[in-house]
Symmetry: C2
Subunit: 190 residues, 2 copies
DNA sequence: ACCTGAACACCGTTCAAGT
DNA sequence: ACCTGAACACCGTTCAAGT
């Protein structure tokens, strides 16, 4: 990439981060280009779709989450590894506001620029779930897709100002529903 | 209201129901007016905001839900009354697509045309919850607002085509988390 | 190679002019 | 009273023209 192009690319990304953080994921792309001091066509050249821009913004976070899931696979507490990872995913999925809907759409749409990172992350989470299930610590009828749906639901709650104050409580409620009673009280049935 | 105005009002409502059902709650109001064969100003005269139009479309459903909650208050199964009512609310809240976000916003915004019906409904649900809690059948740390948040979360899942197939399963998962074990197995602790 | 911004087809909202 | 549609200020997306 030519030096001037690289500079525009980086600057657009930085501005887009600000604008999306302020206004959510449906913010005006025109506004992004304007605030970056760049022609509208330059934005479209570097990021042909809104998803491509989001992907560039979020890739690092997705990669971190995938990496964290892999590391946790060897931890000695499969239940805690799963819940802690879910909490991190929820945090990423509700910032910027509205991004979780893009993620859900990306999983179904192979052509979305977000598809690959979302699917990879979903698969990494599914492995944490299988491991917890194998130890009898998570409900056995839960599927990988359910994990993503519950993360999405919790991120949606975070996105609604009127509901956000109870989001942490509801996370614990749902985490409790994912885990079996065995994982919360090992002595119970032994 | 003059007869011609009444006719426009009714026709706009019928067309809006179709358009919102097809395209979700963010559908073009211009398109609604166009398909109703009516000037754009006529739509805005009858429904000054999108919320006013939604309210006219959904009022009957909201009223039914409020009435159903009141009837169930005398049923002899507080737990089942709560869960069955929640299921009905989720059904209303995800049709048309996206309406649940409007409902969440309306609860926080006193000036929204949807505010009154949402608050009334939320309160009716909260009473069902209190009753179930009084019998020890529902988690005691749950609040009325949490009920609404969970309904919203489930409706959001319904709205995502990739997640909808598991929505019923996840409803049962969350309903199970709301209820206490006592309500699922009364003999357990007696 | 890369950038620009006009052009096109939309949108929500308002309001002067009509009946 | 009520209706109409032009007008205004936006938007996403494309692409000919420039450097």
């Amino acid at each position: 990439m030519r030096a001037d192009a690289q500079k525009n690319y980086d600057h657009l990304l930085a501005i887009a981060r600000d604008v999306f953080t302020e206004q959510g994921v449906d913010a005006s792309l025109r506004d992004v280009a304007r605030r970056a001091g760049v022609g509208l066509g330059t934005l479209y050249r570097h990021f042909p779709t809104r998803e491509a821009l989001l992907e560039a913004l979020l890739r690092a976070s997705f990669d971190e989450l995938t990496a964290k899931a892999k590391e946790s696979e060897t931890s000695n507490s499969p239940a805690e590894a799963l819940v802690s990872w879910l909490r991190d995913v929820v945090t990423v999925a509700h910032s910027p506001r509205g991004v979780v809907a893009s993620m859900a759409a990306a999983i179904a749409d192979e052509n979305s620029a977000l598809h690959a990172s979302c699917v990879t992350m979903k698969a990494a989470g599914a492995r944490l779930l299988v491991r917890a299930q194998a130890s009898g610590l998570a409900r056995s009828d839960l599927e990988g897709a359910d994990l993503f749906a519950l993360v999405g639901a919790l991120a949606w709650i975070h996105d609604q100002p009127s509901l956000a104050p109870r989001a942490d409580y509801l996370f614990r409620l749902i985490a409790g529903a994912i885990l079996t009673s065995r994982s919360r009280n090992d002595a119970e049935c032994d």
